[in-house]
Structures are given as structure tokens and as C-alpha cells.
């Protein structure tokens, strides 16, 4: 049998990453959707970079940043007591950066597709920006919220290169399922690799299937 540890670690990483991305992605996406500043283009490029860069590039720079030999790494370790390279918190930070576009893009188009008068009506009816976000905007973009959440979750499950670069292969710490597959193949344990791979395949398939079904239902319910 295979060791279930990497699978649990993968789920934990995906869950934590997705929650952080929700907290980060909603304000960021609404800022990108509604603000018109010259910085917006730069911010958009940074958000989208993980889509085009090889994971090894992001992993490499994060490794440098986390390393005790650099200024940032020293500051993190000496002042905050954080050692991020080859640790679970480091993996979470890397995953958040790497999956950022998968959360922000659906949310940004969700915000942009809402009619502007919904927001304005809410302001005129006495609500603040936050109240408007919670009570008017988010409830009317459930498909976008669901897409962002699921894509981030699924993308984190499928992460490999970044994790390998900054996480290594430490059992219980950074050895997620995708790394375990690679490891088993390297050790010629094709049966175990196959089991891990099959489970990841099934989980990803189910998550996406449920999302599309639910999104389809939400869209149907909206029409009278």
C-alpha cells in the first residue's frame, strides 16, 4: 500500500492556499476591476506572471528570497523566526503566488461583469464599500467565486515544479502527492506511483465536474 501522508499534505496545502487566496484575491480583484490607475497594468502583469513563467523560475527566486544568505531571508529568520525554505509555510507562500492568477482572473471578470449601477445603487442607499462588497457584489458573482476557489484548489493540487524547487521532498513537511509520484517513479515503484496518480486524477476530475454542474445550475436558476 502507499503512504497516505503525501495525499493529506496535498489536501492541507490546497485548502490553506485557497483560503488565503480568497482573502487576498477578493480585494485585489475588485481593485483591478474598478480602479483606473497607471499602476493597474503593472499589477495585472505581476498577477499573470505565474501563467507564463516556468515554475522553476518562481521557485528559484523564492528559494533565493527565503535563503538565510539573502537580506530578506536573514530578516525573516532573525527577526520573525521564520525559516521558509524547505518548510510547509514556505510551500504555502509559494503556492499562493503560483495560483494567484487562478483566483484573481475569474473574480476580476466577475466584478467587471456586474452592472455598475448595482454598486452605485448600494452606495446611494447608504452602504459602505465593504457592505456593498459583502451584501451586493459577492452574492451576485457566485459562479466567479466558485470558479476561482476550485481552480486555485485544483491548481495547487497539481503543483510540482515550485514545490520541488523550494520544498524539496521532506516526508510530512513538503512531500506532497505530485512529488511522491515523481519519487516513486524514480525508485521504479510504478504501482505506487500509479495509485497516487490515479487518486489525484480522480479527485481533480470530481472537483471540476461538481464545479461545472453547480455553475450550470446557478446560471439556470437565475433565468425566470
Amino acid at each position: 500500500m502507499i503512504d497516505p501522508g503525501p495525499l493529506w499534505l496535498t489536501l492541507k496545502l490546497a485548502l490553506v492556499t485557497t483560503l488565503i487566496l480568497l482573502g487576498l484575491g477578493i480585494p485585489l480583484a475588485s481593485w483591478l476591476a474598478y480602479r483606473r490607475t497607471r499602476w493597474k497594468a503593472v499589477a495585472e502583469v505581476f498577477v499573470s506572471m505565474p501563467l507564463v513563467l516556468p515554475p522553476s523560475v518562481i521557485g528559484f527566486y523564492l528559494l533565493l528570497a527565503f535563503s538565510p544568505t539573502t537580506g530578506l531571508g536573514r530578516f525573516l529568520e532573525n527577526s520573525l523566526g521564520l525559516r521558509l525554505a524547505f518548510s510547509f509555510p514556505g510551500l504555502v507562500i509559494a503556492s499562493v503566488l503560483y495560483s494567484l492568477p487562478f483566483m484573481v482572473h475569474p473574480l476580476q471578470s466577475g466584478f467587471a461583469s456586474l452592472p455598475p449601477q448595482l454598486r452605485e445603487a448600494s452606495y446611494v442607499l447608504g452602504k459602505t464599500r465593504w457592505q456593498t462588497l459583502w451584501r451586493v457584489l459577492l452574492p451576485n458573482m457566485k459562479p466567479a467565486l466558485l470558479s476561482g476557489t476550485v481552480l486555485s484548489f485544483a491548481h495547487t493540487i497539481g503543483e510540482f515544479g515550485v514545490v520541488l524547487m523550494i520544498g524539496g521532498n521532506i516526508p510530512g513537511q513538503t512531500r506532497v502527492a505530485s512529488i511522491a509520484i515523481f519519487d516513486e517513479v524514480e525508485s521504479m515503484n510504478y504501482h505506487s506511483a500509479n495509485l497516487y496518480a490515479l487518486i489525484l486524477f480522480a479527485v481533480s476530475f470530481l472537483i471540476l465536474l461538481v464545479t461545472y454542474l453547480v455553475n450550470h445550475r446557478i446560471t439556470l436558476l437565475r433565468q425566470p
Binding site: 449601477q117 448600494s122 452606495y123 447608504g126
Partner: protein
Amino acid sequence: MIRFELYKTLRGAGRDLTIQLEYQARDRGLLTVYGPSGAGKSTLLRMLAGLTVPDSGYIEVNGICWYDSRRGINLAPRQRRVGFVFQERSLFPHLSVRQNLAFGMEHRDPGAVNDILRALELDELGNAKPAFLSGGQRQRVELGRAILRNPALLLLDEPLSALDSGLRGRLQRLVLEFHRARDLHTILVSHDLPEIAALSERVIHLENGRIRQAGSPESVFFSHPLSGKVQFTGRVLAISREDILHVITVLAANTVIKVVVGEEQAAALSAGDAVIISSKAFNPLVSRITGDGEGGSEAGG
């Protein structure tokens, strides 16, 4: 008392529009803003509501300053006590009619919501979602929601333009009832002359961002010297020659009219020309149109 003086330059694709408006009224007569599209009517309402920031000027409603560029005051829309009925649909799709109505209320008051549902004749639709309402029902909910906000200033941006005339009349009465019963300052944007005449005590005629004329509807629209002359404008559709006569066919509003003209006049006109047709010799006949569409009693001749 409402006073404002507003300056704003809007950058457009073709040309810039400079809005330059000054207005004040001591009493609470319903004010209608009238003018061609692109004259700055909606922008005026948006500036009053705080949704568009003017370049400079001030806004004061009932002694409270909402905006003053010199003193650096600019209250957020939520601090302004404004009821705004938008031209586009703005009901919250995920909330029921009742929840939409109560959205802007400062304190929960189901009794007030019930009262307004009754006044709007929407008693049975309290739990329906906006997607299931007709255009007229939606507009009534929008109006009710703005009223329940308990505004000092009610702004209506062509709220009735998409409705048929029967519904329009009912909603106009509702607007007027609310305006009077709740002692509001109301500003209505409208294109519809009968509507303006029926509702407003004051009219601003806006053109290119400036007030061209202001005053009572009578003085703005009916100020020409009184005469029995019938006159309307139209466009020439065709010019034809029948035996010894020249006949031009003119489209006036939705009616096609044939008029006999002299040879010289026919030569001077061509299809597409805008013309004024008037009759000065005869007193026109006036007939009331009854509900079933047939001519009614004659009132002149």
C-alpha cells in the same frame, strides 16, 4: 432649500462637454430637467448624488453642505440622503422585492415596507425576485426603495421612459404623491412633454451643459405668442406632380400628410428636407380620442 453651482468637463470621444449650472429653489416644487441627450442631465443627477465628482462648485440641501470644492467638502453618496431611481435596472437580483425595498432603511421597519408595498400595489409580490417582475413592477420597486431611504432629495433619471402610457400615468401619480406627502426636493429627468407638464412646477431646459431656459413649464414651453395657428414640423418624403398640381408627401411625427404646393415651391424642395407646415386661414377641429380608439365629442370647428 436647495442650491447648487456645478462645473464639470466631461471628456468625450468626439468632443468635450463643459457643464456649467447654477440653480436655487426655496420651496419644494418638483423640478424637471429637460434637454437633448448628451446635454448633461444624467451627469447633473450623478453629481448631486455624489456618484460623479464635479470639478468645482457647491451643493447645499436643506442647509447642509454636501459638496464644496473651496472648503474641501465632499460627502460620500451614503452620507447624502439621496433617493436615486436609475435609468437602467438596478434592483439587486439576489434579493426579494421586500429585501430590496428594505435595503436602504436605517432601521428595520417591516410595517413601513408593507405600507409601501400596498401603495405600489405590489402586496402579492413581496417575496418575488426582480427577474420575475414586469418592467412596470420593477420601476415601482425602484421608486419604493428610493422612498424608503427617507431621502431629502429624490432624483429620478428618466424612470418612466420605457413604460407604456397607462403605466406611466399611474407611476407619475405615485411620484407626485410621494413628492408631496414626504416633503421632498425632487428632480426628474424627462423627455416627455405631457409628463413634464403634468408633474413639474419648474423646468430647466439644458443644452450643451448649460441652462438655456428655466421657469414654470408654461413659460418654458408655451411662451410663444398665442395664436390659433396650427403648425407642425416634418420631413419631405416625396414630391410628385399630378396633372397640373405639385404634391409633396410629408412625414410629421408618425403621420404621412399630402400637401398641394405651387410649382416654384416644389422645385425648391427635395426629399429629406425639414419643413414647417402651417395653416392660418381655418380654425382647426379638435376631437378627443376615447378609450376604444374612435373619435369623441368635438370641441371646436
